[in-house]
Structures are given as C-alpha cells and as structure tokens.
Amino acid sequence: MKEYSIIIYGRGGQGAKTLAQIIAEAGMIEGFNIQAFPEYGPERRGAPVRSFVRLSKQKIRKHYPVTHPDYLIIMDEDLLETNKEICKYKCPIIINSKKTKTHFKTYKNAYVIDASKIATELIKINSPNIVLVGVFLKIFKKIKPENVKQIIKEEFTNKNKKHVIEPNYKCLDKGYNYF
C-alpha cells in the first residue's frame, strides 16, 4: 500500500511544523499511520526550514527526511528562490503567493493561492497554515476536512480561544474550495 509523503517549505516562526502536524493528525483520525517532523537547526525566526509528513495505512518504520515527496507545500514563494532543489520534484506543489499561476511556469502541477491574504482577512493574522491545509486536503482527497475541524476545535477550546474556531473553519473551507 502506498505511503504518501509531503515536504513543506516555510520559514522559522511561520508554522511549517504546525502545518505538518495538523495534516498528520488529520490523517491519523482518518486511520493513517503518520509521521510529522521538521528539520531542526540553530537558525532562528525567518530562516528557511522544512517540515515533513508521511501518511500510510501501513506501519511507518523509517526515520529520515522525505526524499521523494508526493506533495509540496511552499509557505512563502521566496523559498522557491532559496531552495533550488524544489524545481526538480515533479509532484503537485501548493504555493502561497500573491502572484498568479502563470508566474510559476516551471511547476507543471502548481496550485497557487494567496493564503496569507485569506488568513489575514479571516483570522487577522498572517498565518496561512489552515488555508494551505484546506488546499492540500482537496488535492489529496483521502482526508476529510472534518478531521481538521475537529483538531481546530479541540486545540482552541483547550487554549480558551473558542472565538477563533469559526474563523479558522472558514480558512479551511476557503482553502478547500479554492480549487
């Protein structure tokens, strides 16, 4: 049975780790075995970082970074510049950008969305995570958006921030329904 793997490109402090974790957790609810982990280094906020997700109905035993991703998520288009290896992957790629798809011709399978803008509008912070999760779920198909909603609900209920649950649902839906 196939194992699905994702590489997320982000910047320190931007939430690439959380993004990976949400996808993984949602996958777990769906019955997947999961793995989510970022690259760790001494670099600080703003510096480029990668996160990885694996989803599989079989036990995941390996312990090393994803080398052949099935999906790519780019949290900030600038990272395409600094991470030249990205263009060699042929898989679907989700790009957070103000620009349109036509600007990313090298990527045949690109899904371009201004997730930051959507997030800023809906939850008042430039945190494109949930929107990008929505996009991913739509493309991936094998995880229900409800799972993510469940996670959002638990998370923010725990944190005593119930008022942000709905806006986050909206982010997810916006992403999910974008393509």
Partner: protein, 90 residues
C-alpha cells in the same frame, strides 16, 4: 606524523564564508534619505549592522545592506524623524 592544519574544527575568521540573512526578511526598511538628520541613532541599534556609514569626514548614515537586513523594523521604530518605513519586500 600527519601535518595538522585546521584541527579541532578551528575556523580562521579571515577565511570563513559569510552567511547572507537577507532572505529572512518579510518587510524591508525604506529610508527617506532627504528627511534623515543623521543622528546615528539607528546605526548602532541595527541588530545586523546592516545600515552602512557613508565615507567622509562627517559621520553620516548610508543605505541598508539588504544582504543582511532581516527587516526587524527597529530602525524604523526608533528613528526620531520617522524617515524609515517598513515596506513589503517584493
């Protein structure tokens, strides 16, 4: 015996490469030179030492070195005449 040169992970400052941190930036400081009074408050308070000094007898601030500026916004915040604006770095 083997000749040891750079043993023990020792680095020679004069030979080491330089890491550019400009790509970390989301916003960048735009400096309105004409408004600047060259008070030099911003210069030593730039965490990255990314603000340059102009050559010459009179001490004057110069442009920002965007290879290193991380866009923290401190300079804009502390400039007494508000001649720095943080703008989108696209």
């Amino acid at each position: 015996m083997k000749e040891y040169k750079e043993i023990g992970g020792v680095l020679y400052s004069k030979k080491t490469p330089v890491k550019k941190t400009g790509s970390w930036r989301y916003l960048k400081p735009a400096w309105n030179e004409s408004k600047c009074i060259h008070c030099m408050l911003c210069y030593p308070k730039c965490p990255e030492n990314a603000i340059t000094l102009k050559k010459g007898k009179i001490i004057k601030r110069g442009k920002v070195n965007y290879d290193f500026c991380k866009g923290c916004g401190i300079c804009a915040e502390i400039c007494p005449v508000k001649c720095i604006k943080m703008v989108e770095d696209k």
